[in-house]
Symmetry: D3
Subunit: 305 residues, 6 copies
């Protein structure tokens, strides 16, 4: 998806900057920067905007060999407007886009390669029936072949209602070993109105191994059958919160792939979240492995010479 | 429609500038800058991009009171890529846009106000069946109530085939007193493959009073029952050819509204075309009435102090 | 007036951005964005900079039909320099400008249209004797014909001394039903050195119905014969305080035109002030009516998807 | 003077870039870049814009120790609008500016230093009576003390009429040993309507040693009592003609100060003119002495590695 | 190598844009865009600038798995200054750079992979003794193992003298099956002062199969034992000649890899050269395979809708 | 030195802005802006980048007549990357630069002029043996001829180890009457690991008159034989900490040159530091003398009209 960002009110106009956008690609880049081998799979338009998307994924070292070009559908777009210093509004032009036409066939090859992990978000099934089916098929297939599944709820109010989301995502969560959600998204993978404890318990009961609850400036909680672990956020000067959740997810999954203990996974997760909010762009500021120590709760305003 | 312009290859990225785009709004602005009272009618999205469109029309003094806001559909978009210094590529995201949902009802009120002139382009009917019907209805209604109709063929290969265009535009041309086309568009309002003379003759036979053939750097020809008049292009340094045809049309219609003789209408038409190509943007460089004399075939590289 | 903004020290140079500036036009835009019918009246230069001013007013839906173009005088200019992150300096080039030549005749027509409200600022009378007379004439005429008058003191030290301002504005305040001032401006419409209570009492005694005291980050107080009401500021991340007072005024007057209770007028006033300081530019970030709820004291750093 | 440049129509807005502007400072910089010792004398505002002017002059190595800061008057401004690719419009805000208040006293000290050459333009006397008197006094004083005087006619239609210019500049030319004019300026230092031959003859009769006629793309002619010399323009791709005349003058005067033969002075003059038109800005592209050979009539499109 | 471009004189300052630069990477990108599998081999600094280089190569689909990161040496830099519209100056900061430390060991692995073609330029051996030895070793090794070698002379006066270049490049040319040179570079791979015919004959005698002579706006000549073929340049509006030679080389080699006839290779070569000069940047404007037809000698100023 | 700044991660690319950089030039500009006569001495490359450096120094009124141009060495460069909002990384390209070749001979002339003060930093001796010798020679010579010496430790970890720095700077400090250091730099001019009290005592014992310890947001301490004085930092909104230490030094030295009491020197020092952190750029925001009162601990967010 191409993200078009304005630095002020869209109605007034002004230059837009083009970025690669998308929760899944953010996670993929977060992992690739940390040195993991990662592929992004999906459909992109067979035009210049699609080329733009691929150029960025390749630049970041994400494997795009499984991407399918769609000659008939345009690129998905996202307008990201900084309406005030504190309020960012997102507007999607994704109906009928190449990405929304994702199908089971598009995922067959990449899954057959047998990845260790399949990461899904709640955005894909919101795009179309085909995409919904593809996501569900992939989750089931992954589990069947021993690939772990992670699911970030990523609820987008502009794409569907909470009811539709719940009806779709709750079954999907059943395939996941890791479920990631913000506090107000938890009941989208549980009973309507369920509080955190109830929702988490239900998920763990259904076989989810870890439930991660993102708390923004308050850090995150990780629930397992063994209990709950809390990690405070790493304090930084926040300039752009977009992408922070995806960065968090990438950090957690990176720790999981590295075989870290839960507390260390969580720390990497909040550290990546900190990088995301301390830099401009969805993913541009994410760290390489040797940069992880740049942000560690230490002093603000550092100049390294 | 919102036009998003890149100054280089889209695939490489870089800032996009936002502009008001659209053949009809270009013509409306061209007329308004010359002091004519002009309204633009259509549907725009009920969001920030729609607001952007309206802000620009209002800024230029175009009456937007008849515009309908569509709460359910997104703004139409156009990506305008300068692929090389000589090659500009246009890509539309208009399927399902607010503008494509134009309906007869949207036009009823504005037409009832009894304008002297109704300007249509061949783009509107290409957008959807509803828009096609609306345009045809408006042309018929206008003729019935004594409003003159002008039609610019404006063929867009990205929107429909030549065959479809011809089947739609040829009947529409029958309502027009002025038909404007580039040389290779003429047979879209006549028999397939008709040469210029044949196509023009057929149009005049069907009651069109004036047929204008745009020739780019070679100027333009105007055909009436009295014969043909040629106006050479006004020589300027061309920096951006987008919008030149619309400027030409605005110049001609301005002359007609002012009651000028044919040759003077043509001269104003090519003068406005020259302003359009000598300035950046689709319409930004169009002249106010007191600026018409800035371009008159005189010396290039003038500094007025 | 054209406002030329630098993002750093002017002496070092760098690009300037052009904006429409002026306390009265800020208020007019604030009202128009909220859906009120509003006209801006004044003189603008009959050149490109004057055209720039009119384009922005029209874009915002402000009626400019009563504006007079002055062929002999240049546009007024304001250089706005961000000297440090916290210190913004303003420098005027208004002596001899078109705006400074405002005359009684310029205001005759617009006032004859019988608006519900006439908003004046203390800047206009500072520009020239003619402008002073025009403002006074308009206030008197408005009162005589039943049009309410609001006056924002808006003291500008670069334009005149406190003594001159007091001598002019104190009588002018007598025509107003609403007087708006910051705390340190109150004694410019009262006795020199008068404290807030004394100054307010004197104004209310002279027939002013409401006295609004702007307190910046501390919100505002509204005094009537019934007592005093305080509204705290709406907390936002401030990026640009320029225009906040005008936004406050527009919010208050909007509430008054809507027939809101005093406390609700005040709330709208501080809300508009919050929009102004949370966005860049004097007026660019002001809300449309459906955007008022975006800022309501809730969480910072929100992304709406 | 501060020059504010827009890259498109001013009425549409967009960023302005700040530049040092002014015919005399252009000449001063042209000479300083070539290694000559040169001072610029005048009044500049005692504010940030004045500081901007001085920073640029100092950066270029022009002596500013004789400049007087005026605490009471604003900086002179020039808006430079690229209206179309070929038409640049200039608009002055110089009435009442610091520069327009130039007085005899301002020039006394610098002239007492006994420079080899005093360069004057026809712009200074157009600014005010005081400036007119100062220029005339300086020319007379210079001649009296053996300092050569050069005068560039530099007629500015926005500042005064041809009649006023002629009445002022014709006597001034009598003090000059070098007079520089474009072809259509010649009769501003001679009888009204005088043709080139007549005007030149009259100037030479009055004691002017050299009359330079700037012909733009056709180069230049130099007249002395010994006859006429023509130098063709140096062919370059022109991107910005502003400042070309001043560059020409600087080149000629540099050659004179270096003791070059007339033909070599002319060649340096047209070479500097070529640098000015081949680069953006009034003076930014002017060459240092070791760069003179970069432009010499040779091939376009050269990359030096 | 990181290329830092200014759009005007460096001494005046202004923003620099960062680009991937280097003759070899230009050729690699040209080939990759046309769909060929291509790897770029070299040393890049183990810092952010090195990362920048790799990101661009990967974005373009160039294999970077054989690149070696050098922790001890900085990135090579190139300042590219547009001194006038026609004169571009290049300044290198490559002494001691990572790239200059290229060694035989760095090339061993990549060559062992058995590519069909090894492309070398005359720049690499100019950087250091080690790089010289590495290039020579690679050429010899390639020939020994049946990999064809192409050599672009690419003389850089800022790096070494013509004498040194000749002494190094003449033996190197003996390994090449294709030698590419501009007309004034030919005698750097032949006897000093040799004219084109003599130099070409000597190269063909030494076993070079094809000698390509780049003629800029005049196209190119290709010499083989069978005679000479000339291809005219494809006419386009030139905006940036940097990289044109590398584009030409990429086009030729692409044709060779595709098994095209000589005349068709040459046509592709001049077509890629046309793309390079018609777009900004060294390689940004190079075509994908489906874009080759965008430039074909047809009309300038085309808008494709 | 030329400082190239990116506003985000260097690896992602984007425009770089060119600035004059260097601790000594920052101090020189700080002093010149406050009206002191100051010369900067060093070597700069004899190319466009060197010219850029000199243009900025001259613009700021710093005497550059003693600067030596080096035709054989490139300009020193510094890449300044804003990696996150809080973390700025600096990368030097100074090995082999013109500045690193500073020699005793370069300093002979300027020192012979008998300045009141010689300011040295710990960066110069880190650049090369020659520069080390030059700095030491200059310090000794200054003391011998009655010129006071100030030394700012300015430790740069990218240039040398703490051990090497200590070995060089400790003897150098012996020549200084003022030594400036941040708290963690103090033991670089004392015994390894010495705490603040010990290090300061040792310096005072060796004859240093004043030891200034920079504490960032906590202000600064000044030690003399009479005891210690603390000055809190002046509270401002910090946007760019680069150059703050140099500004502090310039403020202190300015106070010393003005004959202020220690406490007033310190106050000026922290005031200049506040200007540096409240503005963008290393030195661009430093105050002129009449601007010192703009920052005085008063309210943030001030607009001066």
């Amino acid at each position: 998806m191409v993200s078009l960002r304005s630095s002020g009110p869209l109605a007034v106009g002004g230059p837009l900057t083009m970025h690669l956008g998308g929760a899944e690609s953010n996670v993929a880049i977060g992992l690739a920067r940390l040195g993991h081998r990662v592929a992004w799979v999906g459909r992109v338009s067979d035009d210049e905007l699609g080329e733009f998307v691929l150029r960025h994924l390749r630049a970041e070292g994400v494997d795009t060999s499984g991407v399918r070009r769609d000659p008939d559908r345009p690129a998905g777009l996202m307008f990201l407007e900084r309406r005030t210093e504190d309020v960012t509004r997102v507007q999607y032009h994704r109906a009928g886009s190449a990405g929304s036409a994702l199908s089971v066939d598009d995922l067959r090859g990449p899954l057959a390669a047998g990845p260790r992990l399949l990461h899904l978000t709640g955005i894909t099934p919101a795009l179309s029936d085909a995409a919904h089916q593809a996501a569900t098929w992939a989750a089931r297939e992954a589990v069947a072949s021993g690939t772990a599944v992670s699911l970030d709820v990523n609820y987008r109010a502009r794409l569907w209602s909470r009811e539709d989301a719940r009806a779709t995502l709750t079954p999907l969560a059943g395939y996941a070993s890791v479920v990631i959600a913000s506090a107000d998204e938890l009941d989208l993978v549980a009973e309507p109105g369920a509080d955190e404890a109830t929702a988490v318990a239900a998920l763990l009961d259904r076989g989810v191994r870890t439930v991660l609850v993102k708390l923004g400036a308050d850090g995150a909680r990780a629930y397992t059958r063994d209990g709950v672990t809390h990690a405070p956020a790493v304090p930084v000067t926040a300039v752009d919160t977009v992408g922070a959740g995806d960065a968090f997810t990438a950090g957690y999954l990176s720790g999981q792939l590295d075989g870290l203990a839960l507390v260390d996974r969580l720390h990497r997760a909040v550290t990546l979240g900190a990088f995301a909010v301390a830099g401009h762009g969805d993913w541009e500021g994410l760290p390489r492995r040797d940069e992880l120590s740049l942000i560690n709760g230490s002093a603000a305003g550092t100049t390294l010479r």
